[in-house]
């Protein structure tokens, strides 16, 4: 699970190590990555929204 999160974080960041990437794509399961990706996207939205509303106060 932690590995999935780390990989998705790397995807958001846009940088990934070749070896780690190989691991991700040998596990053969896509769903965990998609779910984690969607969740992280939501987290990102909430995060930016929180920062924005704090800044707007």
């Amino acid at each position: 699970m932690w590995n999935v999160i780390k990989s998705v974080l790397a995807a958001f960041f846009g940088v990934q190590k070749e070896s780690r990437r190989r691991e991700d794509f040998t596990s053969g399961r896509v769903m965990p990555f998609i779910i984690a990706g969607v969740l992280m996207a939501l987290v990102l939205v909430v995060l930016i929204a929180v920062v924005a509303s704090l800044a707007a106060r």
Binding site: F13, G14, V15, Q16, F25, G28, V30, I48, S53, A56
Partner: protein, 543 residues
């Protein structure tokens, strides 16, 4: 439901044939019927590319009218109404008629060749997707001949100028966009299914060439946002013809709602037009630097990241419509974030060049110009992201300069790079390299003469979409117009190169470019009508 979901992407390697043959023994139709009825991905790809080139010249003609009128202050050639029709149709034709079909055409030709598939996953649907487009554009262009003329409210169609105050032909414009939208969605479905389902045995997702990767993500964006466009133009249709008040405060609606929906489509649409360009460039640069792409994995991840972020930034097109402060900040922050993965891509291309062994054939020239000039467009994009500054930039020629830098020396140069790169595979001949170089240099000079002065005109205060302007903008506009005529004229060379290449030229071997490593270079040049009827044996490269 879970068991009914489509199968997981990694379980779909080769399936031994149990029944059936690949092609029936029917005689292939000839002449015009061959093109009308074809289901072959190469023929359909050619059709898309020809349509795109035609539309490029139609949209280009409109641009020439615009630039001729703006050559000097005052109204000389056309009436303001017609000028507005020109700007609107120029945008629509170039986006939906030239750039998007060009990328779909390249995908049709190259995705099956690059993944080792016999054809697109759903060949008949593929032909349907294509033939919807000529129908759509016939409908769209026919609006010029209707009372009140063609749509004149800008390609963004902001209500209520595009509803209550629009010419009668707007209804036809909406229907033609519906057709183009259906075509895009079906085309995208086909491309996704091909990539996920028809890869050569042994080719994992992370072994795919970047062009395929970027198209996979682009196709996802298309399927996600074209329906939003369909929805919002349907609401326009209802406001115009059935008295609804979606975009009118009188009935409780809001004109800004239109813009939110439109840009929720429109921003991913921007990436739809640039991600495949990233893919093409990422394939060409390693070939001519004779060195593997630097940071392949990062490139893929950065593409995914840009795609996700593209759904969160739409209102940066609307900083001056009066968004609440929180929204303004949210969209400023998220937009600034998008610069990061985009930067990663540029850095990776540069590092790919570093310590390579570089040659400068026309595909490489266009790809290199792409990297430099797209980056300039990226810089102005970064400036536009700063919301307070955008209050001065918005709706000026600075914005026009920005998006033309990412679309012309961006998307269009990438398409041209792709055409030069793959012409040997399509025709079996090398394009005339000398003419190609002429085409390149004239285009590069023309494009910069056209669009660079627009930055200054915009900063000095010239709004976009005006047929006449104050005297202090005269010099910038004259240079821009001259550059535009030069760029326009030099595209005739492009046509000449293509025609000559089809008719003959130096014979190209299967591996036409020394550094080309992808699967398409394993089939003969020109590629026979049917390729990979037997799936190739794919050996993953060490990335």
């Amino acid at each position: 439901m879970a068991s009914h979901l489509p199968p997981k992407s990694t379980t779909q390697h080769s399936q031994p044939a149990t029944a059936g043959v690949a092609s029936q023994a029917h005689a292939t139709p000839r002449g015009i019927k061959r093109w009308l009825l074809t289901t072959n991905h190469k023929e359909i790809g050619t059709l898309y590319l020809v349509l795109s080139l035609t539309m490029f010249f139609v949209g280009g003609l409109f641009a020439m009218v615009i630039r001729a009128e703006l050559f000097q202050p005052g109204l000389q050639l056309v009436e303001p109404e017609f000028f507005n029709q020109m700007t609107t149709m120029h945008g629509l034709i170039m986006i939906f008629g030239a750039v998007m079909p060009a990328f779909v055409g390249l995908a049709n030709w190259m995705v099956p060749l690059q993944v080792g598939a016999p054809d697109m996953a759903l060949p008949r649907l593929n032909n349907f997707s294509f033939w919807l487009l000529p129908v759509a554009f016939t409908l769209l262009l026919s609006t010029f001949f209707m009372p009140g003329g063609a749509p004149n409210f800008g390609w963004t169609s902001y209500a209520p100028l595009s509803t209550t105050y629009s010419p009668p032909s707007t209804t036809f414009f909406i229907f033609s966009l519906h057709l183009a939208g259906i075509s895009s969605i079906l085309g995208a479905i086909n491309i996704i299914a091909t990539i996920l389902n028809l890869r050569a045995p042994g080719m994992r997702l992370m072994d795919m060439p970047l062009f395929v990767w970027t198209w996979l993500i682009t196709a996802f964006l298309l399927i996600a946002v074209m329906p939003i466009l369909a929805g919002v133009i349907t609401m326009m249709l209802l406001d115009i013809n059935f008295g609804t008040s979606f975009f009118s405060a009188a009935g409780g609606g809001d004109p800004v709602l239109f813009q939110h929906l439109f840009w929720f489509f429109g921003h991913p649409e921007v990436y739809i037009m640039i991600l495949p360009a990233f893919g093409i460039v990422s394939v060409i640069i390693p070939t001519f630097a004779r060195k593997p792409l630097f940071g392949y994995a990062s490139m893929v991840y950065a593409t995914a990241s840009i795609a996700i972020l593209s759904f969160l930034v739409w209102a940066h097109h609307m900083f001056t419509v009066g968004l609440p402060l929180v929204a303004e900040l949210f969209f400023m922050y998220s937009t600034m974030l998008i610069a990061v993965p985009t930067g990663v891509k540029v850095f990776n291309w540069v590092t790919t060049l570093f310590r390579g062994s570089i040659t400068f054939e026309p595909p490489m020239l266009f790809a290199l110009a792409f990297v430099v000039l797209f980056t300039i467009g990226g810089f102005s994009g970064l400036m536009l992201a700063i919301s307070p500054a955008d209050f001065q930039y918005h709706d000026t020629y600075f914005v026009v300069a920005h998006f033309h830098y990412v679309l012309v020396p961006g998307a269009v140069f990438a398409i041209m790079a792709g055409v030069y790169y793959w012409l040997p595979k399509w025709t079996g001949h090398y394009p005339n390299l000398r003419l190609g170089q002429w085409h390149f240099w004239l285009s590069v000079i023309g494009v910069n003469l056209t669009f660079f002065p627009m930055h200054f005109a915009g900063l000095a205060g010239m709004p976009r979409r005006i047929p006449d302007y104050a005297l202090q903008f005269a010099d910038f506009n004259m240079v821009t117009s001259l550059g535009a005529f030069m760029f326009g004229a030099s595209q005739l060379l492009f046509v000449a190169v293509i025609v000559m290449c089809i008719r003959g030229g130096e014979k190209a071997p299967a591996k036409a470019w020394e550094g080309g490593e992808d699967l398409e270079w394993t089939v003969p040049s020109p590629a026979p009508l049917h390729t990979f009827e037997t799936p190739p044996d794919f050996q993953p490269r060490q990335h």
